[in-house]
Symmetry: C2
Subunit: 112 residues, 2 copies
DNA sequence: TTCATTGTCAACCATTTGGTTAAGTATAAT
DNA sequence: ATTATACTTAACCAAATGGTTGACAATGAA
């Protein structure tokens, strides 16, 4: 249950590491969408898009609901939170370093 | 010059999509570090770590300085900012949706 | 019923990835 | 001069990725 978080991060970051998939996410942020409509802008087979969608689905970023022959996809930003937090941790690290640097420079200033 | 940003995102997200590389980053957040010292905790060859380091270096997340035979690695969080901003865009998207939902629920409430 | 639409799945292919071993380079220590 | 240390590089390997084509399944429309 601890290592699972790591696997989740793996999946999310990997899913986001592809421009086609990021574009799909951007598209889904506008509105839910069928597969063909999703695929239309891309110079790529429907089958290829189908695979990308499964990657996003596997990372939990995309939810699919099926009505008849139509699959409707919508975005779930939930799994992004883990990635955000991981990155935010290093943002704060960065700020701390910056603070430390400023402090050090001030100390140097007053002792000089 | 526009598509380059996409390639940068590709590289950063891909670099972060591996637990070994994330662990290396976590280690470097403590202090700069030589390659062997970095490799020590991992059940993996030095050559494998060397490759991981090159991936991180390629994404700009790791800076190397060479003195004699010692390579010292330090973290550069700069390239993370792009990833953060990309994710933050969807965080705000998420909040907007949430706001819209709350608004809708309130409207329903007052009209009911 | 027949035809069109929506989408998946399996098989294949080239490339990338993540690891290995073995050899090589360069520096430091004895 | 020899040997040990710190790394990189090249060659190789299995598995995963990202794409294709072609066949299929299921639903909707004529």
């Amino acid at each position: 249950m601890v290592n699972n978080q790591g696997a989740q991060l793996d999946a999310v970051f990997h899913a986001l590491a592809d421009p086609t998939r990021r574009a799909i996410i951007a598209r889904l942020a506008q509105a839910p969408c069928g597969i063909s409509e999703l695929a239309a802008p891309f110079d790529m087979t429907l089958a290829a898009i189908s695979k990308h969608i499964k990657v996003l689905e596997g990372a939990g970023l995309l939810l699919r609901s099926i009505e008849g022959r139509n699959h409707t996809c919508r975005l779930d930003t939930g799994p992004m939170v883990g990635g955000m937090e991981w990155l935010r941790h290093y943002e704060t690290f960065w700020n701390q370093r910056l603070d430390a640097l400023v402090t050090a420079l001030n100390a140097e200033d007053t002792t000089a």
